[in-house]
Every structure is written in C-alpha cells, then in structure tokens.
C-alpha cells in the first residue's frame, strides 16, 4: 500500500491511512489524531511513544477496535474496522485482539488461572477446557506455581504476567498494550518486556506497546513517535534487525 518504502509484505498486520479522530463538540472540540498513516507488519513489536496527551492511547484504542474514527482507513488483518458495526467490532475484538492494561485489570475475585481463562470463556469455550488451557499459558509466563493465587496475592510484575497470559490465551493476532510497565519498577518492567518478545511474539502476530518508559525502548522492533496527534517519526531498532 502507499506510504511505506518497504517492498510489499506478505503479511501486513495493520494499515492505517489518513486516520482522523476528534472528541467533543463546540468549545470542547479537540482533534486528537491528525492524518495518521502507519503500517504494522506481522511478527513485529512496535513501540508507540510520545509526550503525554499526544494521542497514543487514542491510537491504540482505534487499532483495537474500541474507538471509532472520524475518517480514514483502519485495516487490521484485512478487517476494515472503520466500516464495521459495533457488534462486528465486538466479535472482532473477541477473536483477534489481546489486551494488556497498565493497571492489569485482573478480576480480584478470580484466581490467576480463572483470570487467564476469561477470554476463552467469553469465546464460549467450556469452562473446564478453558481452565486447562489457561494453566498452560500460566506455565508459559512462569507462573505455574501461582495458578490458584488471587491477584491480591501476587506482585505487580506477577499480575502483569498473568495479564500477558490472559492476552495470549485466545491466540489473538494483534496484542495491544497501554503502558504495561508504568506501574512496575525498572527490572520488573524489563522482565515483562523480555517475556513479550519471548512468548508473545510470533511471525503471524503483531504487538503494539504504548509507553513513556525509555528504559524499555530497546525491546521494540520499530519505534513510532507521536507528537500532538501526528506520527512524526518511525525508526527501526538496529538491535532487532
């Protein structure tokens, strides 16, 4: 497609073309995304960085199909989200998107395993089967021994790993993370990012991580920098070439 210099990629995860997004009307009207054009490839971990209020979370929400755009093309694995109805977007999110939040958002009354199983259960997988698969993913993030712990019994880093397992368990093709390390100390943050690269990244999948945290910039394949609603720079990370 247009806007990128690289040769046509057999797998393009996300294509954004001239995307605009504004909030409010009249006095409160503000334009948050201005003419955003961006491609995200399969198998890459893209970092979205920039100062507070520049529109990172808004862009991430658009990619994930939880915010509508004013105009422009939002294509995620061939699905034109900008043309989808709300219920189609709900189905799309259920099948194709993994979410990781700054505040983990684990349900406090569910154990680690049950929390991980939630996306499967939402997808109507039988409860017991969902739990079995959830345990496998907990093992994958190194928390096999914490399967029956409640979120309140886990450290922040452990909770975020549970959240990673939850984002992965449904085998979504796109994983979106908003400030996944902001609530963690430096070392734990790095551990979480290592885990992203090790267990989450795969050739059919793309990961988008919004972050402020320059300590983790090294974990991205590419870094897209935003300023005031625009993408001002996309640079490759030589470490991962």
């Amino acid at each position: 497609m247009t806007g990128t210099k690289s040769a046509p990629d057999p797998c393009r995860a996300v294509t954004l073309q001239s995307v605009n997004k504004s909030f409010g009307v009249g006095e409160t009207f503000i334009k948050v995304l201005k003419d955003i054009t961006l491609d995200i490839k399969c198998g890459e971990l893209l970092l979205l960085v920039g100062p507070s209020g520049c529109g990172k979370t808004t862009l991430l929400s658009v990619l994930a199909g939880i915010l509508d755009v004013d105009d422009g093309v939002v294509d995620v694995f061939g699905s034109r989200l900008d043309q989808f109805s709300q219920s189609k977007k709900t189905d799309f999110r259920r099948n194709s998107i993994g979410f990781i939040f700054q505040q983990y958002n684990l349900i406090p009354t569910l154990t680690a395993t049950e929390n991980v199983a939630v996306p499967l259960i939402v997808n109507k997988k039988p409860y017991d089967k969902a739990l079995v698969k959830a345990r496998e993913y907990l093992e994958l993030v190194g928390l096999g021994d914490r399967a029956d712990h409640f979120p309140s019994q886990l450290s922040g880093g452990q909770q975020q790993r549970v959240a990673i397992a939850r984002a992965l368990v449904g085998e979504p093709r796109l994983i979106v993370c908003d400030e996944p390390t902001a609530a963690l100390d430096g070392e734990t943050g790095k551990l979480v990012m290592e885990m992203f690269r090790k267990v989450a990244l795969s050739p059919e999948r793309a990961i988008v991580v919004v972050t402020h945290d320059n300590r983790i910039f090294g974990y991205g394949d590419r870094i897209a920098e935003m300023l005031d609603g625009r993408i001002i720079d996309v640079r490759e990370n030589p470490e991962h070439l």
Binding site: I66, N105, V122, D178
Partner: protein, 374 residues
Amino acid sequence: MIRIAMKMLMGDRAKYFTLVGGLSIVVFLFIQQGSVFCGLIGRTAKPVEAIGAPIWVVDKNLQVVDEFKGLLDTDLTRVRSVEGVKWAVPLFIRQVTVRLSNGKFQAVRLVGIDNATMVGRPPKILEGRIEDLNAPDAVIIGKAEMERLGNPKIGDTFEINDRRARVVGIADVPRDFLSNPYVYATFDRAVQYTPRERKLMNYILAAPKDGYTMAQVLANIRKTTDLAAYDEDGMRWLTMNYYMKNTGIPVNIGISLFLVFLVGMAIIGQTFYAFALQNEKYFGALKAMGTSSFTLVKMIVIQSLVVGVIGYGIGVGMGTMIGFLAGPNAKLAFYTPYQLIYISFIVTILICLLSSILSIQRVLRLEPAVVFRG
C-alpha cells in the same frame, strides 16, 4: 460467563452477605406481615368454621357472622319446606356478658345449638361429653381464651345474666378475631341466658338433599324465602370481606408491606449499585475483550436473580418458621397461604430486577475505551 458472574458476586463476601441478608430480612418481613394479615382476617371467619354447617341461612342484610339479625320461627319452617333441603335447624350466636365468681365481667360468644341434633356443636370435645349439655345449667366452653373465664374446670360455675351456668365440658375451638371465649349451650338454654326478645334464633343451619347441588339448594332458599343463604365458604368470605372493608387492617398492613418493599428496594438497590460501580472496571475490560453488552446484562441479571432466590429461600424459611413455632392455636394470628409465598417470590424478583436496572444501564453505556484510562 455464568460461573464468572457467580464468582464475581460471591467473591466479595461482605457485599454478598449484605445483599442476601438484606433480602432475606425483607422477604421475612413481607411474609411475616402478610401472614399476620391473613391470620387476622382468617380468624374473623373462625366462628363459621367452628360451627361447621353446609348451609347458612341468614337475614338478607346480615353483613358479618358477629352481627345479630334475628330470624322468625316461621323462617325455619319455610326453609325446611324448600325443595332440596335435607334438614334445617336453628342456631343462636350472641355476644353476652358473663359474671365470674371473682365479680369481674367478661364478654363471651354464646352459641346455642339445636337441642335434638346438636348441629353446630364444637368440633372436638377435649374433656367431658357432648351429651352432658342436656343436663340442667350445662355449658361447654372453648379452650382457647379460656383463661379469660379464669380457667374453669368441669363442675365450676359462673353466671350469665344472673343465671347459673355449670361447665360440663371443654372443647377445642379455634381462636377467633374478637378473642372472646366460646360458651356452648342447648338452644333452649341459650335463649334463657339472654334478654327476652321476639326473634330468638339468628341462623338456620341446613344441608342439601342427595341429588341436589349446593348451588341449586342455595338458589331455591333465596328464591322461596327472601332470606340470604351461603355455603360455608360463602359465609366465611362474607365475614372476611366485611372485616377487610370495615377495619384498618388492610390499610395498615398494606402500608407495612409497601414500606418493606421500599426498604428492600433501597437496601438491595444501593448495595447492587455499589457492587456494579466497583465492578465497572472489570466489566469495561470484559467489554473490550469482546464480551457483548447482552452477555454482560445477562451476568448482572443472573447475579441479581441468584441473590433473589437465595434471599427468598432464607426469608421464606424464617417467615414460615414463626408460624410453625407458634402453632395453629397460638395467640399470634399467623397464617401463610401458598398465594403469599408466590406473591412474595414475585415481589422479591421484582426488587432484584428493579435494583439491577441502574447497573444494567451503566453497563450498557459503558464505553470499552475506558479500559485504557487510569
């Protein structure tokens, strides 16, 4: 999702117990107030049940069994000659005053039953024999409220209108609304205990002949005598309706029930709402992860229904336990008809569903995009 909804609900013990406990108390109060109402109203008809006759023939203007509207001897003869009437006997029920041996006075319900047939006699004799009622001055008294007569024993005497009455038996008679003791005597004797009047009897008890339906016989009596005639149930309802219309009981209990409903709504609604607010974050995350609004609403409704059913079970259990502990002949008027059990179930479910409406509204309005906001 239902399992998850249940875990979300029951995981928060404090809120869960508040919800179930609050609802149990509401249901309990509802059953309790309702049963007191049914018990009180039911008691107004107890005299009818205690007499126990298939057909009651009464003055056309009679409104309630406790009222005295005399009939003539000729009325009795006319009823006896109505087509389909097997037998008809006179009955006499009046409130009279008894002078006790300690000089105190007590109102009693004097029942004068037909000398020969003893139709209308007490349902069950506990002490003594019904035949002894034919002895001079003989009366049989009901056990309920007997303490008001100073707990007399067989052989004891008291005065009714300056005439001697001697206790020859004690009968099992249900407590009634007026809470006056029952005193049974033969018809002739009962007449002597009351001031002289032209009209002596106030009821004619009758039965239908074989081959005639109750409805036919009642219609025949009404048509040919210009008196009113009821079957036992009709007589009971005549009385109960009178008390419902002419006393403050329905209004008072109605207000109580309404208050219980409001308090229930307030407690359950508020706790549910707090519960929903607290879970909004997670509902938002679930929505982002692709849970449909319909599924979330279903989760909330199921949560509220589970609380409803459990709270209802406990509340009904506690409510009916009172009636059970008190027993059928207790001072406490308490009767729980099955309709009340149904109604309180509907009320419970109503409370729960109404309380969850606010939460449902919030979840429907919830933007999945809020999940990324701190």
